[in-house]
Amino acid sequence: MAEALSTSTVPHGETTKRDFLALVTGASALVGLGAIAWPLIDSMNPSKDVLALGSVEVNLAPIPEGQGITVMWRGKPVFVRHRTAKEIKEAEDVQLNQLIDPQPDSDRVKPGHAQWIVLIGICTHLGCVPLGNKPTDPRGNWGGWFCPCHGSQYDTSGRVRHGPAPANLAIPPYTFLDNTKIKIG
């Protein structure tokens, strides 16, 4: 019966209204499937309660010079370090052409707050947490952070100085609420 209908009066290979209808139907079905798939796929993205946990406030007053703390932001460690004048100078004086991922220190701190460096404490190589935030930790040859997983080293500005990490430690979005308080996120 299928043959009986399809071998009608239309010559072989010619475009018919039926071809058009088949295409339109198929295209609509595809759009419909996409519209059904999207809510399911999007439900796996971060939910509103996860996004709502996106900011933390940190009080800087108790952090003595030369030491740092680690706070949790969006499930990740964030390093907040109170740099000494020596450390700041080292970070500022580096020639940019010596860096793997060149970036001046001034781009990595807030103006007027050069003593505070705030970094996402995740090695840009494979996601380990580098050591160096505690004074007893190894800090590597550049006085910053040292990743125990594959030996990447970062300077006092959190810039990568020794591979295999390809990039500097990321800087989270943050603002100074006043001189001793920041809001991350």
């Binding site: 019966m1 299928a2 999207w38 999007d42 439900s43 796996m44 939910s47 509103k48």
Partner: protein
């Protein structure tokens, strides 16, 4: 003999795969060329509709499970989080919630179709019994799914249904404690219900596979209830019934969408928006609508064990339907008495559903008992007797005859494979 399968496909990759794993041949044979009676009405849509409903339930369920927490302290909150915080969580949950009702509507119409047109009769007994098994698994799955949001109805529904087993003498109490994993419905109960609620749908898929496999051995029944006498009585499944099923499916999905988007809580009980409280039973315990008739039977029997047995029996009895019905004529179209009794059964089940939704007082008790009596009378007494006494109307010679009319018997309409549109003498 060992050897490659011989298919006739143009595409060389398709041919290569098909020679080693003839899935394309299978699809071609079972879903494309599959000869199907040409006189289906829209009642024959509901098998396909129910299959789609099952797939929708599994798909939405998988995504709900990604955010649901099966712990008695966190379950209720996690469902609220799905509704408020998870992207499109409200949509996925409403589709799943209403999907259960839509699935049962489709399956109940499918079962009615089977009873009305005698689809359970030889050679389709096993096909029918697999269907009853699917219904039973669906009810278990739906019940356990309803417990998961851990609201008041969830909790007390779980308590009441699991306590049904306490009606059995001697072992009853031990069974209930075992079901609970404790001395009341609690966290262990919730955990195992979640596990089983995730498992059972896949078992249903497997039984649906057997159901369809059995169908493809005997072929579909049809509104006339007579076997196709040859190719002139059938059409290939594709495109004729893929298109007809698609039309029915679209209407079904529109109704489904109306509930999801405009009345998402139409089927749900407000008491389930209250977190489970083991210290207080809500004033009225009502199961979901699709379980109300069984609930009515349970409450119509003034004896604990008797009620439980009658309730389970009302489903169990369906397994024996192929042998309780003694008439060789399938379709109710040609069975004047059976037809009236079947419609009475439909009304009876609707009455039972209504009774189940009311507190057992006054007239509702009487209505429930009368309806329960008719339900069992129909299957156990009337069906076996009228099969012998009833005088069926004359059956048509073939499917083509009543469809094309006596005048066009010589070959009017389109004919499969150019076969003569004359009923063949033997086949």
């Amino acid at each position: 003999m060992v050897g490659l399968h011989k298919g006739e496909f143009q595409n060389s990759l398709v041919r290569w795969i098909d020679a080693r794993l003839p899935v394309f041949t299978l699809m071609q044979k079972e879903y494309s060329a599959f000869p199907t009676p040409k006189n289906f009405n829209y009642f024959w849509n509901f098998g396909a509709i129910a299959t789609v409903a099952l797939l929708i339930m599994i798909l939405t369920g998988i995504f709900l499970a990604m955010n649901y927490v099966p712990n008695s302290a966190l379950a209720f909150e996690s469902v609220q989080r799905i509704m408020r915080d998870v992207n499109y969580g409200w949509l996925i949950r409403y589709v799943h919630m209403n999907g259960a009702s839509m699935f049962f509507i489709a399956v109940y119409i499918h079962i009615f179709r089977g009873i009305y047109y005698g689809s359970y009769k030889t050679p389709r007994e096993l096909l029918w019994m697999l269907g009853v098994l699917i219904l039973f698994l669906m009810m278990a799955t739906a019940f356990m799914g309803y417990v998961l949001p851990w609201g008041q109805m969830s909790y007390w529904g779980a308590t009441v249904i699991t306590n049904l087993f306490s009606a059995f003498p001697l072992v009853g109490k031990a069974i209930v404690t075992w079901l609970w994993g404790g001395f009341s419905v609690d966290n262990p109960t919730l955990n195992r219900f979640f596990s089983l609620h995730y498992l059972l749908p896949f078992i249903i898929v497997a039984v649906v596979g057997l159901h369809v496999a059995a169908l493809h051995v005997s072929g579909s029944n049809n509104p006339l209830g007579i076997d196709p006498k040859g190719p002139q009585d059938t059409v290939p499944f594709h495109p004729y019934y893929t298109i007809k099923d698609s039309v029915g499916l679209c209407v079904f999905l529109i109704v489904f969408a109306i509930f999801v988007f405009f009345a998402p809580n139409f089927f749900s009980n407000p008491d389930n928006s209250i977190p489970a409280n083991p210290m207080m039973t809500p004033p009225e315990i009502v199961p979901e609508w699709y379980l109300l008739p069984y609930y009515a039977i349970l409450r119509s029997v003034p004896n604990k064990l008797g009620g439980v047995l009658m309730m389970f029996g009302s489903i169990f009895i369906l397994f024996f339907l192929p042998w309780l019905d003694t008439s060789p004529v399938r379709s109710a179209k040609f069975r004047p008495i059976f037809r009236q009794l079947v419609w009475l059964l439909v009304i009876d089940v609707l009455v039972l559903g209504e009774v189940g939704a009311h507190r057992p007082e006054g007239l509702w008790i009487i209505a429930g008992r009368v309806a329960t009596a008719y339900y069992f009378l129909f299957f156990l007494v009337l069906l076996p007797i009228i099969g012998k006494l009833e005088r069926p109307l004359p059956l048509p010679e073939s499917i083509s005859r009543p469809v094309l009319g006596p005048r066009s018997g010589g070959g009017g309409g389109p004919v499969a494979g150019g076969a003569p549109a004359k009923p063949m003498e033997k086949a």
